[in-house]
């Protein structure tokens, strides 16, 4: 008997030979268990992420098997490390190049708030340039903390409405960052 746990089925109506649930839940289940990460690593948090991807912690267990390194094909942007102000436009460009739906995790104190680098040359948190879904605290966070952040993002993804990206609120959020849909 294998002890591998499969993703549980979403709540729904079961009968003989059929299972009915909402599209939201089915799509959410699929998305949450196939998040393709895009690591944007600039410093020590990136080293912790390497450990997270390694065999001991094995991020692939969560369906994040394939680090993309191409923003076009990834869903989950992990920003790990100090982002200098000069790097800000680059990070924003990477975010814009990702296709919807896209999520962002700010890993570590620097990406979340600037960390110890309270200085004129460093971005005081990446949420100054792109919207962030999950913040992982730590300097640097241990792999367990990064995994916890990914699992919390999975929860957000699992429960997200399939129409969220079409809402006025979401468009207003992107507009507030100066990011325009369709170019």
């Amino acid at each position: 008997m294998s002890d591998i746990k499969l993703a549980p089925a979403p709540p729904g109506v079961t009968g003989s030979g059929f299972f009915a649930t909402t599209l939201d839940k089915a799509v959410g289940l699929a998305r949450a268990n196939s998040l393709w990460p895009l690591p944007f690593a600039t410093s020590c948090c990136g080293i912790e992420f390497m450990a997270t991807m390694g065999a001991t912690y094995d991020l692939a267990r969560f369906g994040a098997e394939r680090p993309s390194f191409s923003p076009r094909q990834s869903d989950m942007l992990l920003v790990m490390g100090t982002i200098a102000k000069k790097m800000g436009p680059v990070l924003k460009q990477v975010y814009i190049q990702m296709a919807e739906p896209r999520w962002v995790i700010a890993v570590g104190a620097c990406a979340s708030s600037g960390g110890i680098f309270d200085t004129y040359s460093v971005l005081q948190g990446i949420d100054e340039v792109i919207p962030v879904d999950v913040y992982v605290p730590g300097c640097p966070p241990r792999p367990e903390a990064i995994l916890d952040g990914v699992m919390r993002l999975q929860e957000i993804v699992r429960t997200e409405s399939v129409r969220r990206r079409e809402t006025e609120e979401y468009k207003a959020l992107l507009e507030s960052y100066g990011i325009h849909k369709n170019g």
């Binding site: 000069k86 708030s113 600037g114 309270d118 200085t119 004129y120 040359s121 460093v122 005081q124």
Partner: protein, 167 residues
């Protein structure tokens, strides 16, 4: 070849420039002199081309801000004689309101980025520099951040505000 000592070196400089060389110090054995911005290119070219000195390597150009001094910006040149294994530091004090100094790019091409960096952080205007613009900071920056009147901290930082600590 005889080892080039600091006494010999300052002798050469005094012979060539006389009273234009001042503020001679030797902290930690590193000869340090002060000169005027009108003479700096001549001094650098002399050090580089004199056959007994051959200070052929420009280690660094930077600046220091002394807000309490009348001449508040000091531009500092570190030059290294690879031939004689000897270093020298040359300082030029400038008016902080309009710090202008001739560019050393005519002597060392490598001075280009060092002078851009010094402009970027201290606002020193190097006359005759081929491309004097910011090199490390974002182009939109309006201040020269290593000058003491500008705060080190970023004004956008929120999590250190007093009200988070009951102050």
């Amino acid at each position: 070849m005889a080892k080039l000592e600091n006494e010999t070196l300052i002798g050469y400089l005094r012979e060539a420039f006389g009273e234009e060389i001042s503020g001679v110090e030797e902290p930690f054995g590193l000869l340090s002199i002060t000169t005027a911005k009108e003479k700096i290119l001549e001094v650098l070219a002399f050090l580089k081309t004199h056959k007994d000195l051959q200070f052929i390597y420009l280690t660094d150009i930077t600046a220091v801000h002394y807000p309490e001094q009348a001449l508040s910006i000091a531009v500092v040149y570190h030059v290294h004689s690879l031939v004689n294994n000897r270093r020298i530091r040359i300082k030029v004090f400038l008016d902080g309101n309009r710090p202008e100094i001739p560019s050393a790019t005519s002597i060392w091409n490598g001075a280009n980025w060092m002078e851009r960096e010094t402009y970027d952080f201290f606002g020193v205007l190097f006359q005759g520099h081929p491309d004097l613009r910011r090199i490390l900071n974002v182009d939109e920056m309006e201040v020269f951040p290593m000058r003491k009147e500008y705060p080190l901290e970023d004004p956008n930082r929120v999590d250190k505000k007093d009200f988070f600590f009951g102050r």
